[in-house]
C-alpha cells in the first residue's frame, strides 16, 4: 500500500508547517492558521477528499517530523537545495522568489552596494538560503544569523542591531506591512533567484507524483496564480487578516 492509500484510509492529510510569518504561513488575528502555503495545502487536501491536520513545529522540529513519518508532507517557504534534496524529495518549484536586501528607511545604507562595506552588520535568518546568499554577496560584512522568523529580522533592523537585512523578498514585503508605511527601504534588485517547493519523503513516491500533478493542475487552472496574487504579489491579504 502506498502513502496515498494510507492517506485515503486515514481520511487525513498531515502537513507540517513552519509558522515563519506572512505571507506564507501565519496565525491570523483570530487565531486561525492561514497564509499562502497553508491555503495551498488546504487545497491539496480538498482535492484528495480528506481533511487536513496541520502540525505546527518550529524549525528544530520540522525536518524530523517529516523524516520520522509524523507528517506526510512539509509545507514551508523552503528552498530546495541540492544538499537538502539528498534527504527529502522536493516537488517541482511552484514559485520563484529571491533574497533581497532591506534597510531602515533613514539609514545611510541606501543601496545594495552600500551594504558591501567592510564590517556592515547584515541580519539573516538562521539556516535560510538568505544566510548563504549574504555570505557570498557580502564577503566583508559581519553576518548575524537570527532565529525566530522574518519579523524579528525587521525588528532587529528597526532597532539598529543590524544595518541591512537579507531575506526572501516576498517575506520582507509581507512582513514589513506590520510597520508604518515607509519604515524600510527594500532594494529593488534581488541577490538571487530562488525556487520554493514542497517536500515529502523518498519513500512516498506516489505522493510526490501526485503533488507534482497537483502543482501542474493549479498552475493551469489559475488557482495558484490567484493564491500568489492575493498573498505574495500584493498586500491584499492585509485587510482580511
Amino acid at each position: 500500500a502506498g502513502t496515498l492509500d494510507d492517506i485515503t484510509k486515514r481520511g487525513e492529510l498531515r502537513v507540517a508547517v513552519q509558522t515563519q510569518g506572512p505571507p506564507f504561513s501565519l496565525v491570523g488575528a483570530n487565531g486561525e492558521r492561514t497564509g499562502s502555503s497553508v491555503e495551498l495545502a488546504e487545497l491539496m487536501a480538498k482535492e484528495m477528499g480528506v481533511k487536513i491536520t496541520f502540525l505546527d513545529f518550529d524549525w528544530d522540529g520540522l525536518i524530523p517530523a517529516l523524516l520520522s513519518g509524523k507528517a506526510d508532507l512539509l509545507v514551508a517557504d523552503m528552498t530546495p537545495t541540492l544538499a537538502r534534496g539528498m534527504k527529502v524529495a522536493f516537488t517541482k518549484p511552484y514559485m520563484y522568489t529571491g533574497s533581497t536586501v532591506f534597510t531602515k528607511a533613514d539609514s545611510k545604507f541606501k543601496t545594495t552596494e552600500d551594504c558591501k562595506a567592510k564590517g556592515t552588520k547584515i541580519a539573516v535568518l538562521l539556516g535560510a538560503t538568505g544566510e548563504k546568499e549574504a555570505k557570498t554577496a557580502f564577503p566583508d560584512a559581519d553576518i548575524k544569523s537570527y532565529k525566530g522568523g522574518g519579523p524579528l529580522l525587521l525588528d532587529a533592523i528597526n532597532n539598529g542591531q543590524a544595518d541591512c537585512g537579507v531575506n526572501d523578498v516576498s517575506a520582507v514585503k509581507g512582513q514589513s506591512t506590520a510597520y508604518p508605511a515607509g519604515s524600510f527601504t527594500i532594494m529593488p534588485d534581488l541577490l538571487s533567484k530562488e525556487p520554493l517547493a514542497f517536500a515529502t519523503r523518498y519513500d512516498e513516491p506516489d505522493l510526490l507524483v501526485w503533488m507534482n500533478l497537483f502543482l501542474d493542475q493549479v498552475s493551469v487552472d489559475g488557482r495558484l496564480q490567484k493564491n500568489l496574487d492575493y498573498w505574495v504579489n500584493s498586500d491584499a491579504w492585509k485587510k482580511d487578516h
Binding site: A1, T3, D6, K9, R10, W59, D60, I63, P64, L67, S68, G69, T81, A83, R84, M86, K87, V88, A123, L126, G127, A128, K144, S145, Y146, K147, G148, D155, N159, G160, Q161, R201, Y202, D203
Partner: protein
C-alpha cells in the same frame, strides 16, 4: 524504501491520550538512525569545535558574571535594613519567575530603546549573568545561613570587622556547602547559553541546528551536540569534585 510492515510491540501504553493509529506507524523504518551519517558529523566537526569553544568561554564569562551578581545580591539580601533587602528580593523573584527568553529580549530589544546598542555577545553575556546571578544569590545565601551562628560570634568576639568575618570565616566555609548547587547552576547556564542563538550568537547548539537545516540531518546534529554537552557536564562535575576536595582538605565535619 519502505520496509515491509512487521508488527512491533510497543513498550509503552500506546498513547495515553489520543490514539492515532496509522498503518505507516507500524513500519520499522528507521530513516534517521539507519542512515545516520558519522561521515557528515566528522565533516562538520570543525563547526562543532568552534561552537564548543564559544559555548565554553561564553559560559565561563557569564558564570563569572553570575557569581559577581550573585554575591552582591546575596550580600544585599542578608542585610538587616530593608533598603537593600527589598530590592534584592524583588529582583531575585522577578528573575526566577520569568523565562530567560523574556529577559533576553527585554535586554536585546529594550536596551536600544534607551539608547544602548550593544553587541549581541555582550547582551548575551549580560542576560545570562543577570539571570543566573539571581539563582546564585539564593545558593550563596543558603550556604551562608548554613554556617552555625557560633562561627559568626567567634569572629565577632575576636574583633573582626564584617568584611574580615565574611572573608576569613563565613565565605570559605559557605563555599564548600555551595559547590554542588553551584555546579548545578553552572550546568543550567551552559545549556541556557544555547538560547543566545536567538540573537545570532553562534554557539554549540547552533552548529547542530546548522547541520539540521543545511543537510536535513537533525539526528546527527542533535545527538552530536548532546554528546558535547555531556562532555562539558562531566568536565564541570570533575572540576567541582576537584574543588570540593581542595576545600575538603580538612576533615568533613567539625565536632562543634
Amino acid at each position: 524504501m519502505a520496509v515491509p510492515a512487521t508488527h512491533c510491540c510497543s513498550l509503552l501504553p500506546y498513547s495515553l491520550f489520543t490514539i492515532r493509529q496509522s498503518p505507516s506507524l507500524f513500519i520499522t523504518a528507521r530513516p534517521m538512525l539507519e542512515n545516520f551519517s558519522f561521515r557528515t558529523i566528522v565533516e562538520y566537526l570543525p563547526l562543532f569545535g568552534q561552537g564548543l569553544v564559544t559555548t565554553v568561554w561564553l559560559s565561563a564569562l557569564s558564570f563569572a558574571g553570575a557569581l559577581a551578581v550573585g554575591i552582591v545580591l546575596a550580600a544585599m539580601n542578608l542585610q538587616r535594613g530593608r533598603l537593600f533587602r527589598v530590592p534584592a528580593k524583588a529582583y531575585i523573584d522577578a528573575v526566577r519567575a520569568t523565562p530567560l527568553l523574556a529577559q533576553l529580549y527585554f535586554l536585546y530589544f529594550g536596551l536600544p530603546r534607551l539608547g544602548f546598542v550593544l553587541p549581541e555577545l555582550v547582551v548575551g553575556i549580560l542576560a545570562l549573568s543577570l539571570n543566573s546571578g539571581a539563582y546564585v544569590a539564593e545558593i550563596i545565601r543558603a550556604g551562608i545561613l548554613s554556617i552555625p551562628r557560633g562561627q559568626v560570634e567567634a569572629g565577632v568576639a575576636s574583633g573582626m570587622t564584617y568584611v574580615q568575618r565574611m572573608r576569613f570565616v563565613i565565605l570559605p566555609q559557605a563555599f564548600k556547602v555551595t559547590i554542588p548547587p553551584l555546579l548545578g547552576q553552572a550546568i543550567v547556564l551552559v545549556k541556557d547559553s544555547a538560547l543566545l542563538s536567538l540573537i545570532s550568537v553562534s554557539e554549540l547548539t547552533r552548529a547542530g541546528q546548522l547541520l539540521a537545516s543545511d543537510r536535513f540531518m537533525p539526528a546527527e546534529g542533535f545527538i552530536t551536540i548532546a554528546a558535547f554537552y555531556l562532555l562539558l557536564y562531566y568536565g564541570l562535575k570533575g572540576l567541582a569534585a576537584l574543588s570540593g576536595r581542595w576545600f575538603g582538605l580538612q576533615p568533613a565535619r567539625s565536632s562543634t
